[in-house]
């Protein structure tokens, strides 16, 4: 039998432990200070070198360039999506010939640089001028903008075909079998059962592909398309002002970040039935 003789008197709360200054904290602080210094240096450079005449002269050109970049990327993504459909289905078909051709296309365009593809199309096809004129396609391959659009489309179609194929093949076989067991025709099963599930899988890779295209589209500046990068190079070649590149960086970063957040929102919205 236990008899309590006395109670332990109340004690003060334990002293708050002061977290020691770890190396990680010091390094983190140092790097953050470095970033802040860099940011301040860049901002002061912009403020010191601010020139209203330059702003008036090149500001509208930058906006034009931004619009060119956005339209180029938008159109090539849409056309690439259309072109990627037959490529993806050819890649999944059992036909040997179709399979080989589509595999070669995807492999070729995914493992060579966009810059080399663009040069091949703009300068390379440009050397076949008489032949192109005779088939009436010269107006297309004469314009740098169309050539840029064409090479971006071919490039993104190869990537999108792989995304689509991976997504469709990631849908379990049971879904096909379930649809067949319910007597649903193949076509309806594809549109109503397979594709909706595949597109959710493909959502994130598609977003990444659009971001990659926004960044990749900067190469068209080299073949004299005045997109955002082209306008930046033009402004830099006229003024030798480093600010021009900083403004381009701000534009590109805000485009990419906006798209990333938009994509996160879309993904959360579309997958809310999958959240447990």
């Amino acid at each position: 039998m236990i008899v309590t003789k006395e109670l332990i008197p109340p004690r003060p709360a334990p002293a708050v432990l002061h977290r020691p200054l770890t190396t990680a904290k010091v390094v983190g602080l140092a790097v953050l200070v470095l970033w802040a210094l860099l940011a301040m240096a860049l901002i002061s450079m912009v403020i010191e070198g601010w020139d209203p005449a330059k702003f008036e002269r090149y500001g509208p050109r930058y906006l034009n360039g931004l619009w060119t970049t956005i339209s180029l990327v938008g159109v090539s993504i849409v056309l690439g999506a259309l072109l990627s459909l037959p490529v993806a289905f050819a890649r999944m078909s059992k036909n040997r010939v179709l399979n080989t051709i589509s595999y070669a296309y995807v492999y070729l365009f995914r493992s060579t640089p966009l810059l080399a593809q663009l040069f091949l199309i703009y300068y390379g096809l440009g050397s076949f001028r008489p032949q192109l004129e005779s088939v009436g396609l010269w107006w297309f391959f004469r314009e740098a903008w169309y050539c840029g659009l064409f090479s971006l489309t071919l490039n993104t179609a190869a990537y999108q075909a792989e995304i689509l194929r991976g997504a469709i093949q990631s849908v379990p076989t049971g879904q096909h079998e379930g649809a067949a067991a319910l007597g649903i025709s193949k076509r309806v099963a594809f549109w109503k059962i397979i594709l909706p599930q595949a597109l959710i899988v493909a959502l994130r890779p598609y977003g990444n592909e659009i971001i990659l295209m926004i960044k990749g589209s900067a190469v068209v500046a080299i073949v004299t398309v005045y997109d955002l990068m082209g306008e930046t190079r033009y402004a830099f070649s006229r003024t030798f002002d480093y600010q021009t590149y900083l403004w381009a960086a701000i534009f590109y970063l805000s485009m990419v970040e906006a798209l990333r957040h938009l994509w996160n929102f879309i993904e959360r919205r579309l997958t809310r039935h999958l959240v447990r």
Binding site: V31, T112, A116, G126, F236
Partner: protein, 260 residues
């Protein structure tokens, strides 16, 4: 000894050696090796591309590893600093990063030298600028791959290291890193192929890589389609060789896993 070695390398040169592809196919035409053809110039471009990619890889991997360590640390400040780095360099086009590094470094060095009283024109090496820009981009991507690999390693592994009395550094080196490499290898394979393609951008700042050399050849010989197609094929062959080699490394890294 060195003469003997260089003779060996010359005879094994895949482009202009006795069994080289340009010696074989070139004949005395456009891609022959010598003054009449472009074979030796393009072979030089291939060497520049490969050496740039190979030189970028360790630098980018090291920075990427440090960033990944920072991004998974418990310290908020460190995570923030790493987040800023990856957000910026993953959001900028590679071409823009290259220009920013190339002209920015030039200006920075010039202003530092001007501070010390030297007023000359400074030209920085295009190879170094390309290396820095590509390493920065590569590191911000590889940090994401390494970070997800770090997350795939359970806490128990660290705790086991502690229980064995290993120091933090030893735990990292002996326990975590070998597993990390195995998990991160597929992602790294992709990043290497992307890096190989991204080296083409340095042609814009005047480094004599594949695209630059074939471009010069195309302009002089007026055979643009042939030479740019050759450039694409060279990149394709490089990609094939590296995916073959990396597949070999991947199988080697997985040799201790249970085969299913």
């Amino acid at each position: 000894m060195s003469g003997w070695l260089s003779a060996l390398f010359d005879s094994l040169d895949p482009f202009c050696g006795p069994v080289g592809i340009f010696t074989w196919l070139g004949g005395t035409g456009l891609i022959s090796c010598g003054d009449s053809g472009w074979g030796d110039e393009i072979a030089f471009g291939v060497k520049v591309t490969i050496s740039l990619a190979l030189a970028t890889l360790p630098v980018g991997l090291l920075i990427g590893f440090l960033i990944a360590l920072a991004a998974q640390s418990e310290e908020k400040l460190l995570r923030l600093a790493a987040g800023i780095y990856t957000t910026i360099f993953r959001g900028l086009p590679e071409l823009l990063t290259l220009f920013i590094v190339y002209y920015g470094a030039q200006m920075l060095i010039q202003s530092v030298l001007a501070f010390f009283g030297y007023d000359g024109r400074v030209e920085i090496n295009a190879f170094v600028a390309g290396l820095v820009a590509l390493a920065v981009v590569f590191s911000s991507y590889s940090s994401e791959v390494l970070l997800s690999a770090f997350r795939a390693i359970p806490r128990g592994q660290y705790e086991a290291g502690d229980a064995l009395g290993l120091r933090r550094g030893k735990t990292m080196l002996l326990i975590v890193l070998p597993q990390l490499i195995r998990i991160a290898l597929p992602g790294m394979t992709n990043l290497w192929l992307i890096l190989l393609k991204d080296t083409s951008y340095v042609s814009v700042i005047g480094l004599a890589d594949i695209v630059r050399q074939t471009g010069v050849a195309a302009r002089v010989s007026k055979e643009a389609f042939f030479f740019y197609f050759l450039a694409c094929m060279l990149y394709l062959v490089l990609a094939m060789i590296s995916s073959f080699g990396l597949g070999f490394i991947e199988r080697w890294a997985k040799r201790s896993e249970v085969s299913r």
